[in-house]
């Protein structure tokens, strides 16, 4: 049993989810290789070589891998697939774009967003917005899957392993990237933040969303999230959406402000370690998953919380 993990990166650094994916891969296979394909990504390959549990790093350089487009990457992965029993990627947008293309090219099924490895060929994953967990067995000879990073611990650091160059596959030249816009700024990314502050429709406007939640998030170094209702209403950007069809997060602390708690939203955050909900409706479903429930007007509670946090918890 030998797994190939496809590293997610931006040519400068490994995305954190890759480390959790290595942990999952080590539970399904005895040996794990890590593929770093990109353009000018030698630093990523060097970083990948120090991930504990990895046997070797395959480093493939070519301009057509620079933008992590699915078509050239899938061609590369399929070209070396015969050496592996498992092909594995983090279940971020990039992996979810790539791995079905890999699987179909190889003529095998794909398993999306696993949260548990039950055996080398058997995995558990959420379905119906997390309202059920399906355990599925792959009947194909080669197994292609994506891993929900929040369900596995990140692999640690280790002594460097060999980095072997891999020859690029031809560029299918089917698509190209014209531009990329990353939101975020200096705020941590939703997927890797220890604390997430999320707002819902009750914020009432984009101005309120920013004015109330940004200071609260700022004083905790938290990422900002939003419910679909808040995103649809234009209070927050699309990339902030937490839920079944948005980002799945599991921070140490999730603070839901003015979010009622539709099942689609709960699907994206209910595995957070500690959940705080602030809502004026005592019957809001979000309170069903909250560790700490504060029934209050958010327009009073959030500024009070921000003020108290600034004065109280900051270490001397």
């Amino acid at each position: 049993m030998k797994a190939l993990v496809i590293a997610e990166h931006d040519n400068e650094a490994l995305q954190a989810g890759t480390l959790n994916t290595v942990t999952a891969a080590l539970q399904m296979a005895d040996e794990v290789d890590l593929l770093v394909a990109g353009h000018g990504c030698a630093a990523v390959a060097a970083q990948a070589a120090r991930v504990a549990g990895v046997t070797r790093v395959l480093h493939c350089e070519a301009p057509h891998y620079g933008e992590q487009l699915a078509e050239p990457l899938a061609a590369l992965v399929c070209g070396i697939a015969s050496g592996y029993t498992h092909l594995v990627a983090p279940a971020g947008v990039s992996g979810r774009n790539l791995m079905p293309r890999v699987a179909a090219t190889l003529g095998v099924s794909q398993i999306s967003g696993i949260v548990r490895v039950d055996a080398g060929d058997t995995f558990t994953r959420p379905i119906y917005a997390g309202n059920a967990l399906a355990t599925v067995q792959a009947l194909d000879s080669r197994i292609v899957l994506t891993v929900r990073a929040t369900a596995f611990a990140p692999a640690g650091g280790g002594a460097p392993v060999p980095v072997e160059p891999l020859a690029p596959a031809p560029d299918p030249a089917l698509s190209r990237r014209l531009s990329r816009t990353l939101a975020g700024g200096d705020r941590p990314d939703l997927a890797s933040a220890r604390v997430v502050v999320s707002g819902g429709r009750a914020l009432g406007s984009a101005e309120n969303f920013g004015a109330l939640l940004e200071p609260l998030a700022g004083c905790m170094g938290a990422a900002l999230g939003a419910s679909r209702a808040a995103v649809d209403a234009g209070y927050a950007g699309n990339d902030c959406q937490v839920g079944q069809t948005g980002r799945v997060v599991a921070p140490d602390l999730y603070i839901a402000v003015g979010i009622s708690g539709a099942i689609q939203h709960l699907a994206g955050m209910k595995d957070s370690k500690v959940i705080v909900a602030i809502n004026s409706d005592p019957d809001a479903p979000i309170f069903g998953v909250a560790d700490y429930a504060l029934v209050a007007d958010l327009f009073d509670a959030v500024p009070a919380l921000t003020h108290a946090l600034k004065s109280r918890c900051i270490p001397p």
């Binding site: 179909a104 967990l133 990314d189």
Partner: protein
């Protein structure tokens, strides 16, 4: 240019599904069924392309039991021109659906295929990308804006932490994000017209496709339930819990 749209009949998104006591599946026998919301967005986008004179025909396809006709009629009522149902009672998995769509694409020769980015039942998010692979076409997932220009298609795609704009050669496969458009409600005349629009049926065998599942469901279980939490009376009490011994914010602040 013909546009092919794949639509799936799924449990309505308002229904909270229950796991069957024997753990074999979720109980969908009596659940209200609807068109997968992302697929409605795909139909809407295709109909808009035709209305803008950029597409000549919108063909909708659904794979499954006879009740999928309702799904197809709903798409026809929104403005699609023609429908094909692939008749099977096998519980289809994404690879099988992609292979069926592949066979239909070879027959129908569309210039663009639009799928929902995921179905809200199995949450797999695979079919569009698999179809693109089988056809050897480019793909763009999570599309929030689609522009046909100069024999190519420009697609704004949602990615982790932002957006990117891709330019694909045609033919291509796109999958839709929620932000792409707001699907119209079918009008009464639309629904009347839909009854007269052509709806053909083919079988996987006629398309030469083996739909045997590659994944076996071992069991389906309820997710773990979170321990009930506590109500706090004030911001002060909340902070005491978070910042106190063992609290989530203990030592976590910058």
């Amino acid at each position: 240019m013909k546009v092919l749209v794949a639509v799936k009949r799924v449990v309505d998104h308002h229904v909270k599904v229950r796991v069957l006591v024997d753990g074999s599946d979720v109980d969908v026998a009596s659940a209200k069924m609807s068109v997968n919301p992302f697929d409605e967005i795909a139909v809407e986008e295709a109909v808009r392309l035709r209305e803008a004179g950029l597409a000549s025909e919108v063909l909708v396809v659904s794979c499954g039991v006879a009740a999928c006709q309702d799904t197809l009629r709903a798409a026809l009522a929104m403005g699609a021109d023609r429908a094909v149902r692939v008749e099977t009672d096998v519980a289809l998995q994404p690879l099988a659906v992609a292979r069926l769509l592949h066979a239909l694409c070879l027959r129908e020769q569309p210039g663009l295929v639009i799928c929902g980015k995921q179905a809200i039942d199995d949450d797999a998010a695979q079919t569009g990308q698999m179809l693109a692979a089988l056809l050897g076409w480019p793909q763009a997932t999570n599309a929030s804006r689609v522009t046909l220009t100069g024999g190519r298609v420009e697609v704004e795609c949602g990615i982790d932490g932002g957006t990117e704009v891709l330019s694909l050669s045609l033919p291509a496969v796109l999958t839709t994000d929620l932000r792409l458009n707001e699907p119209r409600y079918a009008s009464l005349p639309g629904m009347m017209k839909a009854k007269k629009k052509p709806l053909d049926t083919v079988t996987p065998a006629q398309l030469g496709v083996d739909v045997t599942p590659g994944l076996r469901t071992v069991r389906v279980a309820e997710p773990p339930v979170r321990e009930p939490g506590v109500r706090v009376a004030s911001v002060e009490q909340l902070l005491a819990c978070l910042c106190g011994e063992g609290g989530a914010l203990r030592g976590a602040l910058p």
